[in-house]
């Protein structure tokens, strides 16, 4: 049986903490490069059309300007990804797309000159508005990364029609932008046909492969270094235009080039979470047992690339029901291509499903914790596969106990404290638990110093510290005897820091390499030869041989809210998440990841919205003054706990990954609490004050 463990006092300090707080840690743009110059992009000011002419004469006349790259003169690329095919055509697919770029001796000159580049376009009418009945709706061949577009079992429509209790609601989530603290930045240098880039990336190995493809190079001629990265949330999961632009410009002028995007640039070219319109139907018996579940999603992508967010996939495994359906339909709009943002699919999808579960509980007159427990499946509902481990019920029960849920009066809009109405809400969390093939090397020298190398990357998660703990544990030596090298594609190739797979994938490879090295040392009775010893691991075969089971982490989130009846302002004095995510490797860093996810979920619930401007086709709130994320003052007593969960299959560490599960469900827990407080059900995020004014 699982038991709730109390989070430990954070005793494991970050190995890179001193470097970060003293400024020694170098982020991509800070790496020196002899003779480096700067590139600044020119963005399209139309949302659709064709470039007729780029007049760079005024820019080129400015002292210090070295080159202006345009679709006419830019180096030819072989990019598969249209978002990386920079300046390769005259077509404009969205407002803010890069249509030219200035290279200059200083950043300021490049920026000034970019304003002087005249781009004449033939403008076409554009469409940037997602509607539920859009004439362009189509069925994608799959949804990300490779899920069936639709699934169906039994007779969901018939069972829904016959159900004594029915919930049929439509929920909407807005566009959202990842907004990592460190803007995307790159430094590129060519040595002949070899390219070295310092890049703000979540995956040096993958970045090197993709960048090599764009420039038509063998993969081993591109080296990507990412020593420290200031967050990504998916936006740095694959190379973005900044690195291609830097490398292109460096090739064009024959000098190293630095490129740092502005916050405003990031709203156009580094991806975002697309808005969604989601209809959820739940048919149930009077006691809340679901007989029919249907989740039909409408999403959007750009005209140049399909990114079909897997919004309904979590509904495929959350709750038991004999009759079920999920569908995804898309519209191609004249917008930037959406991309990965923390828990793509699960995060917006679970807002809808978990809001609907709350509405179902209310319709049944049942407790929302109990309704979820009543619908706990024994096996994965759509596939019949066993779960490798599943502890949603434990999270709900333990969370309810910690939060003080028992005895909750379900009536909405009745608890008053001065101008405030108070309420509580619950929602479930889930995220797939996976690992991807990675390699690692472990070596030891005659002095007994160990070195472990893997092209992992620490995007602020504490991965460097976690891998050190894992390596020291596997080697059976104190951490002070071990050095971990990460953040360089020249190291053994590894999975990206994404999909909550980073630590699961890397720790597997690191453990294998360390155990193999330990065996070598043992075989020699501890005698290290003068050249030292080395072992290399590759986990592809082991991961390929995993049993065909359903693997997910789960969680339960509980929110307490206060709503000011004069103003509609929402405060969240308390937020508790209890998670079941396999083995927790470094408690201090796990807690940071989980409450970070929950904070981002709170931000999604109350603040975040990339407004689309129908007239101009862009996101007018393209800075952090107008695109609100939660401030410290918005976060009250926030706590993340976990149950001790034995995950027997996912590698030697048994870690399921915790980067994303924390953001899933938070928004629903808060919106459900807002309903409990006020009696007002907000089905369209964010829950802003104007939606609560009565």
């Amino acid at each position: 049986m699982t038991a709730l463990s109390t989070p430990q006092v954070p005793h494991a300090t970050r190995v890179d903490g001193p470097d970060k707080v003293t400024g020694r840690a170098r982020y991509a743009f800070e790496h020196p490069a002899d003779g480096a110059v700067y590139v600044w992009p020119v963005q399209s000011v139309i949302a659709k059309g064709e470039i007729r002419n780029v007049d760079a004469s005024a820019a080129l006349a400015l002292p210090g300007v070295l080159a202006v790259l345009t679709p006419d003169n830019a180096p030819r690329l072989s990019a598969d990804d249209p978002e990386l095919a920079l300046l390769q055509s005259r077509a404009v697919a969205y407002r803010g797309q890069f249509v030219a770029a200035v290279v200059a001796a200083s950043l300021e000159t490049a920026r000034e000159a970019a304003d002087l580049v005249r781009v004449d376009c033939v403008e076409s009418s554009h469409d940037v508005t997602l509607t539920p009945d859009h004439p362009g709706l189509y069925k994608p061949a799959k949804v990300n990364p490779n899920f069936p577009t639709d699934t169906e079992a039994g007779d969901p429509d018939g069972a829904f029609a016959a159900a004594p209790v029915r919930v049929d609601r439509t929920y909407r989530t807005p566009g959202e932008h990842n907004n990592p603290m460190e803007p995307h930045a790159s430094v590129a240098r060519w040595d002949g046909d070899h390219l070295t880039v310092f890049d703000a990336t979540q995956g040096p190995s993958r970045a090197a492969t993709i960048i090599a493809g764009v420039f038509g190079l063998p993969a081993d001629q591109v080296r990507v270094i990412a020593e420290h990265v200031g967050g990504g949330f998916g936006a740095k999961g694959t190379p973005r235009p900044n690195v291609i632009l830097a490398a292109m410009a460096a090739r064009a002028v024959g000098r190293p080039v630095k490129c740092a995007l502005s916050r405003q640039h990031m709203f156009a070219v580094v991806g975002h979470r697309a808005p969604s319109i989601q209809r959820v139907r739940l048919g149930a018996e009077e006691d809340g047992r679901i007989t029919a579940i249907a989740h039909d999603v409408i999403g959007q992508t750009s005209t140049i690339k399909e990114f079909a967010e897997q919004t309904a996939v979590a509904t495929r495994h959350m709750y038991a029901a004999p009759n079920r359906r999920t569908t995804h339909r898309m519209v191609r709009l004249d917008v930037p291509t959406p991309a990965w943002m923390r828990a793509p699919g699960e995060c917006p999808g679970m807002f809808a499903l978990e809001s609907a579960m709350d509405e179902l509980a209310i319709a049944c007159g049942a407790d929302p914790v109990e309704v979820r427990i009543r619908n706990e499946p024994a096996v994965e509902p759509e596939t019949g596969k066993p779960f490798s481990s599943r502890n949603l019920v434990a999270c709900l029960r333990e969370g309810a106990a910690w939060f003080g849920w028992a005895g909750r009066d379900p009536s909405p809009g009745t608890r008053r404290d001065g101008p405030w109405l108070t309420g509580t809400g619950v929602a479930a969390s889930t995220y797939p638990a996976r690992a991807m093939a990675s390699q690692a090397q472990a070596s030891v020298d005659t002095a007994g110093q160990y070195q472990v190398s893997i092209a992992a990357v620490d995007i602020g998660t504490g991965a460097r510290t976690a891998l050190l703990a894992i390596a020291a544990d596997a080697l059976g030596v104190p951490a002070g005897h071990v050095t971990v090298r990460i953040g360089d594609s020249a190291l053994p190739p590894a999975m990206i820091a994404g999909g909550s797979m980073g630590n699961a994938s890397w720790s597997w490879a690191v453990t294998d390499a360390c155990r193999e090295l330990r065996e070598q040392i043992r075989a020699r009775d501890g005698a290290i030869p003068p050249d030292g010893l080395s072992a290399r691991s590759a986990t592809g075969d082991e991961i390929g041989a995993l049993p065909d089971h359903a693997r997910y982490s789960f969680g339960a989130q509980f929110a307490e809210v206060r709503v000011d009846t004069d103003t509609g302002e929402v405060r969240v004095p308390r937020l508790l998440g209890v998670f079941a995510a396999g083995r927790i490797v470094v408690p201090a860093m796990a807690r940071s990841q989980l409450i970070g996810g929950m904070t981002m979920g709170l931000s999604m619930a109350l603040h975040e919205e990339s407004m689309i401007d129908p007239e101009f086709g862009d996101y007018p709130n393209h800075d952090l003054a107008s695109y609100h994320i939660a401030a410290n003052a918005d976060v009250g007593d926030i706590d993340a706990r976990w149950i001790d969960e034995d995950e027997p299959e996912l590698g030697p560490a048994g870690a399921k990954g915790i980067g994303e599960v924390g953001i899933v469900g938070t928004a629903a827990a808060i919106a459900n609490a807002v309903y409990h407080a006020t009696g007002i059900r907000v089905r369209e995020l964010p829950v802003r004050l104007d939606k609560l004014l009565r």
Binding site: R111, E112, T567, G568, E569, N621, A625, S626, A631, A633
Partner: protein
């Protein structure tokens, strides 16, 4: 961003003469708004005349018993001044509700008064904006205007003034000391700002080279019973969706005097004189407060996405005045 020159004069007369006599010259205070606008290309000055070293950084008692606040006083210093906290708490509260600690450390009183609207179209040079480029149009009316004006706007512009401090100063009837090329003068805060009408590019009545040297708070005994309430989309570090600055004098259950200003609803900090008049001599009750503010709001001309501000202002004014009435009864 375009290259510019920078000067740091040591006397106000010299600073005024330089800006008045130099095309493209502007004053630089804390730079917390101007420098942003320069990065965005909204402002393209050729010369910055830094006035933060001028002797305008003191807070003095006036002969009448009010306070004279130098235009160079930093927002953070003004907020914690003991006289301000005791005698004009609405001003201290407004300052502390604004921006962030770092920005308040930089921002000056004069610069705060003269900051520009945060209307998204004003800040984006690739789009039309009558305030930035007269005659180019106002996309806000059909586009994003959730946080724009419901009072005092025109067909040409519905920008809101973003300051918190200025709302408190409007309620307190502050007087602005101005040094111009032809000498010094004073103007009421009401006279400093102007409504957009058909010249939305002119935020104020100041002429080029006019330098705000000080802000004077007249003595106002009942301002000890004053408060600032800021409603915003997150708990901190956000511009107001609506704010209310109020001072209330209640005697025998009747309103003897009242000062009321509303922020984030108009192109200027909105002194609610109609509501003030309606309240004089009336019972200090929530019903009377609501009736008074609703009279003020009768002139409101909201658009689709900011219509919620009408009930919001009504609620917040009623709540703030009720709170003040409760504490002075």
């Amino acid at each position: 961003m375009q290259p510019f020159e920078y000067q740091q004069p040591s006397d106000a007369a010299g600073a005024v003469a330089t800006v008045a006599g130099t095309e493209g010259a502007v004053f630089l205070g804390g730079g917390t708004n101007l420098v942003d606008l320069m990065k965005l290309g909204v402002e393209t000055p050729d010369l910055l005349v830094d006035v933060t070293r001028l002797p305008m950084d003191g807070i003095q008692r006036t002969g009448e018993g009010g306070l004279r606040i130098g235009a160079g006083v930093r927002n953070s210093d003004l907020a914690v001044d003991p006289r301000v906290r005791a005698e004009y708490p609405v001003l201290s509260q407004a300052l502390l509700a604004g921006a962030s600690g770092q920005l308040r450390n930089m921002a000056t009183v004069g610069g705060n008064l003269l900051q520009r609207t945060r209307c998204l179209y004003f800040q984006d040079v690739t789009k039309p904006c009558n305030k930035r480029r007269p005659g180019s149009g106002c996309p806000a009316r059909t586009g994003d205007h959730r946080n724009l004006a419901i009072l005092g706007g025109s067909e040409h512009c519905i920008a809101t003034h973003p300051s918190d401090m200025a709302v408190a100063l409007a309620a307190l009837g502050a007087i602005v000391h101005v040094q111009g090329a032809t000498g010094a003068r004073t103007v009421g805060l009401d006279e400093l700002y102007r409504l957009p009408g058909d010249e939305p590019d002119r935020d104020t009545t100041l002429a080029r080279g006019d330098l705000i040297t000080a802000v004077e708070l007249p003595p106002l005994g009942f301002a000890r019973s004053s408060a600032y309430r800021k409603v915003r989309d997150r708990a901190s570090y956000a511009f107001a969706v609506t704010s209310v600055a109020a001072a209330l004098d209640v005697a025998g259950g009747q309103v003897r005097d009242v000062r009321l200003a509303i922020g984030a609803v108009a192109p200027v900090p909105w002194r609610a004189r109609r509501a003030e008049q309606a309240l004089l001599g009336r019972p200090a009750t929530a019903d009377a407060f609501r009736a008074a503010v609703d009279a003020e709001l009768a002139a409101a001309a909201p658009l689709r996405h900011n219509a919620f501000k009408v009930p919001l202002v009504s609620n917040v004014v009623t709540a703030v005045l009720s709170q003040l009435a409760g504490s002075t009864r």
